[in-house]
Symmetry: C2
């Protein structure tokens, strides 16, 4: 009855989303703060409009505003370089379906975002997993051709490490690669650099972004891809006609329009992140230098699975992430200063 590929796979398990309000939730990299007040106002205005009408199928208002905002990193950008989706997940699904068919190969790094594996499995494709070096640099093998390799994903900044492969390195990997490279910049706004500029240089580089993290809008589901217009054209065939709802479009447009809010939020997150790294190191953890809104902690002297469990008992959720062959670790979202103090008091 079902496709063999679907029946065989286990499916992706997202981080726990407890419905209780009391939990200090540092497990799924949500922003520590609520979004710009302009977002709430935009939603209220949209809700008072024509909910019975279909939304703009291509989210024109958002794309126009986003093109202006991103021009400093990518001077060539126009709305035709942008495809919007129902969260980054929708964008990653569209990309995978556009490039990867049954029996094809999808490449991604390890340890990284394990959703890439699920996306390949749904397509009936196989995966080619390339390990990071222990210092989280990426070797040339990431660009080596293999039979039926059709797409590569690079989370940059990477999760769980929070590390970045520099844009020049990404450019040379992309140039050597036989297939498109998707640079998943879900956490890009928290980093010092990004790969947007590469999109103009190489039609096979595609950058994805989300409003879930840096714009504090995980609840509304809005992400987008930046690629050359001829690529966007093909991706658009694969998306659902009305994949972004009118409230999400209104919210996302108001959010990206409020760049002062983004700058202020980023500064707060980065300040707390710096303090977290210092204090967690002082407590004996090995913590990578993070360019995202979370930190990756390992510690060969602690049982981190037990630590995760005991923190959970005490109402603090972090993400315990065992990657076979790698030191187990906990990934901790940068929370508010109060949340971080609560965590630090317990570890």
């Amino acid at each position: 009855m079902f496709r063999e590929a679907i029946q065989q796979m286990t499916g992706y398990t997202p981080g726990e989303q407890p419905r209780r309000e009391k939990v200090i939730k540092l497990n799924t990299n949500e922003n520590a703060y609520p979004p710009s007040p302009r977002v709430v106002a935009a939603i209220e205005q949209a809700a008072a409009g024509s909910l019975q009408k279909y939304p703009d199928p291509v989210a024109t208002a958002f794309r126009e505003r986003a093109a202006e905002v991103l021009r400093s990193d990518l001077p060539e950008i126009t709305p035709e370089w942008i495809l919007c989706g129902n969260g980054s997940d929708d964008i990653l699904t569209i990309l995978t379906r556009t490039f990867v068919g049954e029996g094809d190969v999808l490449r991604y790094p390890n340890p990284s975002y394990v959703l890439y594996k699920t996306l390949a499995e749904i397509q009936g494709a196989s995966v080619d997993v390339v390990d990071f070096a222990p210092d989280w640099t990426m070797g040339d093998e990431f660009a080596v051709p293999v039979d039926r390799l059709r797409l590569a994903y690079l989370a940059n900044p990477n999760s769980p490490s929070g590390t970045v492969v520099p844009a020049e390195r990404v450019a040379s990997l992309a140039a050597a690669m036989p297939c498109p490279l998707v640079v998943d910049e879900a956490y890009g706004d928290f980093a010092d650099t990004n790969c947007l500029g590469l999109v103009a240089e190489n039609e096979r580089v595609i950058v994805t972004r989300t409003l879930s993290k840096s714009y504090a809008l995980a609840g509304i589901r809005f992400g987008f891809a930046i690629a050359q217009p001829k690529v966007i054209e093909q991706l658009a065939k694969v998306k659902d006609s009305y994949n972004c709802d009118m409230l999400a479009i209104a919210a996302a447009t108001a959010a990206i329009d409020d760049q002062p809010w983004l700058a202020d939020n980023r500064a707060k997150v980065l300040a707390t992140r710096g303090r977290m790294i210092t204090e967690l190191r002082a407590k004996g953890f090995t913590v990578t230098d993070s360019q995202a809104n979370f930190v990756w902690c390992t510690d060969s002297n602690r049982n981190l699975k037990e630590l995760y469990e005991s923190l959970k008992q005490m109402g603090v959720l972090v993400r315990y992430m065992p990657y076979p062959g790698w030191p187990e670790g906990i990934r901790v979202t940068v929370g508010t200063d109060e949340q971080v103090d609560a965590l630090l008091a317990l570890v």
Copy 2:
């Protein structure tokens, strides 16, 4: 660079969505009226909550309320029988990906919803199109096994005809069929009967619904599938983790909770539909008896493409739909009485 299947296909073209406010929009079967006021209140309340947090990945609140509402048609239903999606489109995409692989066959009737073809094309599958009889009944050939037939769609009520294949007939077709049958009840709330009861009798019958039409929420994108729990379990592997946003979940839950609004809206739409059919017939059109919120008009004495164009010039949008081998027709959404009067004055 792209999958061959994607490069070859043209992609689905949704109905026109003019951004101008002045148009009388009777082309995409949106509800003539705004949704329940409780919906707007629910959205405002949700927007004042935690937009920075991920939504409930399985829309529990909606599923619990929907199960109660649907129990009269399907006594066995519990929340485990329901999968929610980002509009019916998302649900149809999930279903197609779960059952139909490259080289497989997807069956659907003609004339009907042409998106089914696009869904097959994206999968690299082929289609087996079975014509309705001229009186819009469906023959036994719809159930005949063919090699690699993996899924069949039946829009019921059908678009563009607005006609219904009775549940007993659907049951016998499903029983004879070698694959699952999806009964797409996007317009089901406007009909006299539905196929929900068949889901308990036959694990290969899946019913889909949307809040876009009968609940006047096309703008928020919310649909759902009803199937036996072991089927829902497999479908859930294919959906994006957070495919419904928190505002849509809040809106949809409030909408399905307001059954008196649904009954009142339905009564208004059906009254106007009856009047439209009578008056359009009086003007010489052949109009099928509709069980949906639109009517299908043919007329061998009129050039309907020209009529569509001239109506558009005058600010009234209807859908001109030529199906090869069938009489061309225009599909007209049931609008408000004022909108319908404006249309009738022009044809």
